[in-house]
């Protein structure tokens, strides 16, 4: 296991180099001049030229790439063109906001999704199943910005129960609407995956054996079937968590949440190249770490993976 983990971590390096290189060349190809984002509506060519020289944008693409790689080797993305702040500082300042939102959204997604999925599988073919799956289809299909706007309208403007937006200095009331908005699609998907995975399991002989032994149905479902149905659920949850941690652009914009998603969007709109490169690199690391954690958790959930045995090999 340790050997596998080290191998996976070493694989991070070429992947990160690839991500950074693709980001560099994409930004080079895209139209738009970062210097023009810095100077307002009225400027003179001389100032533009001086800024371009200072930012090495007057050099050939090869020289710029070499300069970029040199800085990348030191994990230094430099300072934002727009704010002048070191890029890593900005990312570390924004990440806590995103982390908080992601954890809350994930908790909602897991609790709601798995409960609804288990319930639907348990009452398979009945009203509960149909309602749960109907709601989940709506959840998957509903655009985030639409749900966000509806929730603000209902809970803030009409019912005056929750604040419409902002971070509110960390008050949990401010977290509820954005977390729920971010979680909805994921929760709906987790519910569907849980249900189908559970249905596969409940048809297995060991479940029938457990029932025949007189194990209570709730225990059969939660302890036996759910545990074995967890692998695909973990995969979905892990991927969603990775994407939540990379910043949720729409949710963060609607709810004026100062996280990484808005930081990245602002950077893209202003062609703030160091900030975009730093943000994309950070997201790549987050995704790889989450994926590694998901893979390692398979072994924890399923002893067959841990011991290298395959199902049916005995």
């Amino acid at each position: 296991m340790l050997h596998y983990t080290i191998k996976r971590i070493l694989l991070f390096l070429p992947i990160l180099l690839g991500v950074a290189t693709i980001t560099f060349f994409l930004l080079y190809i895209l139209p738009g001049d970062p210097v023009l984002s810095m100077v307002g509506e009225r400027y003179d060519e001389e100032t533009i030229q001086k800024l371009r020289e200072e930012m090495h944008l007057d050099k050939s693409v090869g020289v710029q790439y070499a300069h970029f790689l040199k800085k990348l080797a030191k994990l230094d993305f430099g300072r934002s063109y727009v704010t002048g702040e070191p890029v890593w500082d900005s990312i570390w300042k924004r990440f806590p906001y995103t982390f908080r939102l992601a954890v809350a959204a994930m908790a909602i997604s897991v609790v709601l999704g798995i409960s609804a999925g288990v319930l639907a599988a348990w009452k398979w073919g009945g009203t509960v199943d149909h309602v749960a799956m109907g709601v989940s289809i709506v959840g998957i299909s509903m655009p985030v910005f639409w749900l966000g706007v509806l929730l603000i309208y209902l809970f803030s403007i009409k019912l005056h129960l929750l604040p419409p937006s902002g971070y509110g200095g960390g008050s949990p009331a401010y977290l509820i609407l954005p977390a729920f908005t971010l979680a909805q699609a994921s929760a709906a998907y987790v519910a569907r995956i849980t249900r189908s995975s559970m249905l596969d399991e409940v048809r297995e002989y060991y479940i029938q054996a457990a029932r025949a032994k007189g194990v209570p149905e709730r225990k059969v479902l939660v302890k036996h079937a759910l545990r074995n149905a967890l692998l695909p659920i973990i995969t979905v949850v892990g991927t969603d968590f990775g994407s939540f941690l990379s910043g949720a652009v729409l949710t963060e914009s609607i709810f004026a949440w100062p996280g990484l998603g808005r930081f990245t969007l602002d950077a893209i709109l202003k062609r703030d190249i160091p900030a975009i490169q730093g943000a994309v690199f950070f997201m790549a690391v987050v995704f790889m770490v989450i994926n590694l954690a998901v893979d390692l958790s398979y072994a924890w959930v399923d002893p067959r993976i841990r011991t290298g045995r395959r199902s049916g090999s005995e």
Partner: protein, 526 residues
Amino acid sequence: MKKSFLAYLAVAFLGCGGGAQEKDVLCLALEVSPNKLDPAYVVDVAEGEVASLIFQGLVRFSPDGEVIPDLASSWEISDDGKRYVFHLDRRMRFSTGRRVGASDVAFSFKRLLSPDCRSPRKWVLERIKGADAFSEGMAPEIEGLAVLDDSTVSIELEGPFRPFLQLLAMPAARIVPEELFVDTKAHSGAPAALVSNFSEKPVGSGPWVLDSWERGDHLMLVPNPFHPAGSQTLRAIRYRIIPEAFTRIAEYESGSLDVLKIPSAELPRFLGNPSLSRRIQSVPELRVLYVGLNNTRKPLDDPCVRKALNMAVDVERIIEVLANGEAVRAAGAIPPSLKGYRKRPAYSYDPGASRKLLLEAGLGDGMELDIWQRDSPEGNRILEAIQGYLSEVGIQVRLVKREWSAFKEAVSKGKVDAFFLDWYADYPDAENFLYPLFHSENTGGGGNRSFFSSAEIDSLIELAHRTLGENECYNLYAKIDSLVYEEAPWIYLYFPKSFEVVSLGITGYRIPFLYLARQYEGVRKS
């Protein structure tokens, strides 16, 4: 290491500081987050508004747009309009407690113009004698700038320039404390470059001090204890960064925002609600909306074609439907609230005459036109209407959306046929709507993005710069505006109005003529 990372995650989840709403704190919203608050680098409206609260200039704008004393309590202007002597108000202090001296003024101006500073706004001071030589590194001092004594500064211009005082009221000409910029370069005689954290922790002598700044979330300003104005009745101003219009409205309606700028699409709903409409204030914006036509591209280089485009669009109807009738049709670039504006007949909506002009220009078979825009609700609505009107005279319009920097690059380099843009006054003078927009010196990045070029207009604008008599000068501006309008370098649209709704309990609030004039003096929140 592991412990500290876990502690970081724990803090990340449990809370990141900041504060909830408080009493006597005026809560306002900004659409975009300011990037830098160092006056030398302030370029947009959000930055300008906040920097104007923190820093003082020699002069500033009153809520009516007049130039009034700020750091300077009085000034004299020589008869030839070239020499200005400013006497500083000796009561003015930076938020550190130190008195603002004449050397701070000289330092701030030298810093803005210095080659090391690379300020995009050095044009604000470039009319000072010797400014060019200094900013190119050819001279160690600015010839026209002199400190006469501890509280007197003299400025000599290359030539008379009537709106010079207004330039001095702009954020770029605000005064910073010299000691915060001293580094090794200062000893070599050159002003130091941007001190990296000055923008994060700006120190000025304005009525407000930056107390905290969470990027992307909020800025909190508290009164400058050393400012003599003494009319600050608020304990703090809290600017929240809220990018979405819907969210800003929701924040206002749930009572969390004290002032809301009403988006034009929402205006009928607000005006139709009696309890809200009583609290709505409006002011004509110093802004003109237009579709710039690239005057160097065929067939748009023909004034008849440009006039035909103006006659093909029913601007009155666009104002009625899309601006709720609350705008003034533009028959020139100078807004109605500025001296130099003259009411003149606009191009009449006449598709038949438009088609005839196009036919005479050899465009009987119609033409294709790309209009570039950056994505904005206002632009989308207006351009879709224009697209419809132009198709009626045989012009097939393709709307090209680009984000701001790609848009600006293409438009400033003259790579597009036409583009939708607005021009917001840097300072409230007709000159700011003529020289940047139509003088051939400013083609491209300078503001003249329609690449309009006329030797006659250039010389008239230059003459107006030298004309000191107020009436004479504004008559000249009116004449220039009229001559340019006859050439139809743009499809002229309208001058919009700005509407703000103020929450119950706020008294003394008034929308200023210009965003730079906001000071929140006498505003109370009960």
